[in-house]
Amino acid sequence: MRRRNHSRRDFLKGAGALAAASCLPVGTVKLAFADKRKDFTFAYISDAHIQHIAGAEFVRNWDRGLIRAVAETNMLNPKPDFVVFGGDLAQLGTKPELDHGAEMLSDLKYKMYCVMGEHDYYLDLGEYWSELFGPHYYSWDHKGVHFVTLNSILTYDEWTHERWPTAEQRMLEMAGLDNPNGSPFMVGEEQRNWLRKDLEKVKKDTPIVLFSHSPIQRIYKGWNFWTEDAEEVQALLKPFDDVTVVYGHVHQIQYNQIDNISFHAVMATAWPWPYPESYAQAEINWPELTVPMNRADPFFERDATGWQTIDLENGRIGMSYNLYDNTNRTVKYNPKTGRPEDTAFQDPAKRIEPQTHF
């Protein structure tokens, strides 16, 4: 038995410290800002996968995940500058799903930017999405940072337009993560050309944060943890000092550094996915840095799901994961080592059982 002799005060202090990452009023890690750039915070909710059963019935589990993320995000104090929805709002891209999801998102008290996911796209190629949320790719500037959103879940024209007899069939085929009939994600030439032109106006020392659904890396093709033209996109970003890519789709904690680019994955609000290395027959390029998310107890439907707050500091980010029923995690760019690191568990000696005992 442990912890027999704590004094009351120590006990409370300890509990508070552990909870620091997601406490109210904290949501931000504020440092004195260097340069003339102001540090700020935004929130990130992703992969809600609202799934229609019939009539007015949706899968309760995924609904609850999005409701909770929205409710907690609304409680952040100080308020975030904006919130991003990272894609896969719907499960099969249907109007009822997108509407039901949009309704829940409309409770958010902040300006929202949206990223396209494959589950939103492949039924009608993003037509209804645009009605609800606007363009599929775009950029904007905020407090000295250049933000870009890409639609990175496109695929070969032949697969998209010719292969399947119906739109529904196409959506079903792309919806299965492990479906051998799927097709790899890509950004594609049109957006790469757009991105090149967009970045011409950006100074080399302006921080860039790029939102994407697919990883802009090639991690595991079998589950489309993959962007086919990742290297070409990375090449466009290479000339800049501080670049961060934030991506969804994987439903798990991942982070990596490739040259000048930091990569951070966000959690899903719906359900977690296994790490590709847990598939015995897979060949993977695993982002070595990643300390895995804590193992989930599936009884608690929200375990290993969550949402994030992202702090911009000196042009790089710290991502605080708000994980229900679980130890919160923070992954932050470390300027000394030049890569993102988990602030508590990066050192293997500090890991806890739920991170090592899978």
């Binding site: 009351r8 109210l24 907690e72």
Partner: protein, 382 residues
């Protein structure tokens, strides 16, 4: 004004945890269905310490009005509760916000109180004395005055701790109380005899069906833990199951923010949660300050639950059947009520039939230990 001298351990059929001052971490034998009783290294059990603890437990002089003791709300003859009160009454019948949990088997909790704000039995004992709606003392001095001067206490503290006069502090007082509380363990229920003891006939058919539902459709076992060789019926964690907080859903963001800004100390938290009903509903959040803690309370044990009515942190659920219906509805009192945003993700509508609900209740009634069987029969007749 009562003082009780005392000649033996109170309840029958209980195996005491006794070590004879070896000063090492001891684990003592336990009734069927329970693991060894955990005893801390710095507070080993001795028969004399236990008796002293019991005397302190029953002593109502440790209150501002001289008529409230631990036993007022944790009455030994009521399985250490104040059933049927929903929330407890302290001095001058002042009410708090929370239901008095039983002391029986509380030794197996890793934290004490409904929100776990106390890390040990010793620490827990400090707080009711100085809470304005419990014993109402300004500080612990009146207690120390009594135990340092009353001849029976002077003699007992010397014998148990080897201390006299100013050497006697609240540490010794609470250690003795905790030692007594550690003897209140009760297992060996009909369920234990059936599940761990192999007695096929210890449960009737409804109770056996209830067990199956408990582990399957009822989704009970993940929090009210049963394991292969013992069953605590608690996971020692905190969950928002939609009791109380549903009524203040709209106010939660404001309340939580106010609470944080107030930056209360530990003692202030203790007072606030028992005297302000709305703050009380914040539950574990008042202690851990995480989103997960909003409206969350510690999973109580279900052992002897048939004699500890009414239920939940605020005593708002009157019967076991009402409790099952609350879960069956997915964390709301009335089917179709809005569910609060922070509901534990383990809670959801269950779709149980009336017969399944009855079977679950029957199963829970089989968790009563033999020493409380009479009490259970009386409770059943109300």
């Amino acid at each position: 004004m009562r003082k009780i001298t005392f000649a033996g351990v109170l309840t029958v059929g209980v195996l005491c945890a006794m070590s004879l001052g070896l000063g090492q971490a001891e684990e003592a034998s336990a009734p069927l269905g329970l693991p060894p009783v955990p005893i801390p290294e710095d507070n080993p059990q001795t028969q004399e310490k236990i008796e002293l603890g019991e005397t302190l437990f029953l002593d109502d002089r440790f209150s501002s009005t001289g008529d409230v003791s631990c036993a007022t709300c944790h009455a030994p003859e009521k399985a250490f509760t104040d059933s049927p009160l929903a929330v407890s009454e302290g001095i001058e019948k002042l009410t708090g916000t929370r239901n008095a949990p039983t002391v029986v088997n509380s030794v197996y909790f890793r934290t004490q109180f409904w929100d776990g704000r106390s890390p040990s039995l010793e620490d827990q004992a400090l707080h009711p004395f100085i809470n304005p709606v419990e014993m109402g003392l300004e500080d612990h001095q009146p207690i120390l005055d009594i135990v340092r001067s009353d001849p029976d206490y002077v003699e007992a503290f010397e014998r148990v701790f080897g201390k006299t006069g100013d050497e006697i502090t609240m540490t010794e007082v609470t250690q003795a109380i905790a030692a007594f509380e550690r003897t209140q363990v009760a297992g060996d229920s009909p369920f234990d005899r059936w599940y761990f003891g192999g007695e096929e006939t210890a449960l009737n058919e409804a109770q056996k069906r209830g067990f199956e539902i408990f582990v399957n459709e009822g989704r009970c076992v993940s929090c009210h833990v049963i394991e292969q060789t013992q069953a605590l019926f608690t996971d020692n964690r905190f969950h928002n199951i939609g009791v109380g907080i549903n009524a203040i859903q709209e106010e939660v963001p404001e309340l939580a923010g106010e609470f944080l800004e107030a930056e209360a100390t530990a003692s202030e938290v203790d007072v606030k949660v028992l005297t302000d009903a709305r703050t009380s509903e914040l539950g574990r959040f008042a202690v851990a300050r995480t989103f997960d803690g909003l409206g969350a309370f510690k999973t109580p044990t279900l052992r002897n639950v048939a004699v500890t009515a009414p239920y939940m942190h605020d005593g708002s659920v009157k019967t076991l059947r009402d409790a099952v219906v609350h879960y069956n509805n997915g964390g709301v009192t009335n089917e179709g009520d809005p569910v609060n945003d922070f509901l534990s993700s383990g809670i959801r509508p269950l779709g149980l039939t009336d017969e399944q609900i009855d079977d679950l209740v029957a199963f829970m009634e089989a968790l009563t230990s033999p020493q409380f069987a009479d009490l259970a029969e009386e409770a059943g007749q109300e």
